[in-house]
Subunit: 193 residues, 2 copies
Amino acid sequence: MENIKEDRRIRRTKKLLKHALAQLMDEKEFKDITVKDITERADLNRGTFYLHYTDTYDILNKIENEILENIQNMINQDMEKTDMTDSDSVPALKPIAEYIMDNADICRCLINNKASVDFIDKFQNLIYVNCSDIIKRRHNVKNTTRNEYYFSFITLGIIGMVKKWLETQPMASPDEIVFLVEQIMTYSSAVLK
Amino acid sequence: MENIKEDRRIRRTKKLLKHALAQLMDEKEFKDITVKDITERADLNRGTFYLHYTDTYDILNKIENEILENIQNMINQDMEKTDMTDSDSVPALKPIAEYIMDNADICRCLINNKASVDFIDKFQNLIYVNCSDIIKRRHNVKNTTRNEYYFSFITLGIIGMVKKWLETQPMASPDEIVFLVEQIMTYSSAVLK
DNA sequence: GCAATAATCAACATTATGTTTATTATTATC
DNA sequence: GATAATAATAAACATAATGTTGATTATTGC
């Protein structure tokens, strides 16, 4: 997805800009953050920003996509290893929960972001795409409109739980959340037909 | 909440501005909508906008709050009528679903809005505040951290379902959605302790 | 070391914002 | 229907952010 070898200066600049934005999002709403704010915080020239991003929404979008790509990669790795037919747990959940825990600050500001692009939408879609097939196969469930509604319920519900997790200080351990998510998935799949 | 008698000109102006914004949100992302866009569409002077709202986020916020206030009022009315201890259904759901159906265009653009304030957050909070007490009493459930996680799951999950409902054309009838929501609430409450 | 290129700096035109003042049009109320 | 109150208009303004350009300096990969 990314160029394997970007110039060191580019890597440094992008990292500085992203860190600056994450800092600022902790301090004020995204909509009130300007390109000038970001470059001043990163101690870079304003023009430099435009060498890499078109506007503030572009850089935010790219931060979001990186996080979600990392999570998707964990799922893909897990898919190869796992025989889906026998186990009832989802092995990818543990590394994902640990990843979210490790990146709690950035995940929290993305998921709580009041004025921006659609991190939650993209996250829900990721869960939807990766889970619906697995669940359907496991529980021998059909593609009905009714079940589509329930999937929308479950997938956004899981994000609600993760959101709560990130908001509750001190945060529970990844293992605890994995347990709760698996439990809720088991219970909820009972509504599917 | 609102002044009982606003000048007719003010009522007209506010209505024109709100309709113009709703129209524009169907055409492009909220973040790209300017005050000029709104007043041009409403065929009003740009200065007039500032007589009533501070910026685009302010008017959006007020549209959101109106919708949610109307829903809250339905719940309040229902609370007075209902004896909570015996029934297992939630009578407010039907009028709420009908209200959402009647205002599907505006609700859809608020719930799908990619770049704005927090309609979904506020909506989730409304459900949370109004449902948690009822459910806790009904199922004799305690205030544990674990249950808080589940409430976050259920409340955002319901919004996921409503979102799906609004996206699916042609929309299902309010009665169908009420049935699904009640079913999911019954099933889900099984995870509470 | 050197060619390539990223970052800086200063300057610029463009656009949106938010405010002000004087003027016109509409309203509520008597 | 006349009138005082006030909402909407129009034009002008300062301010600030945006996005771009061209020349210069600094860093990088090889």
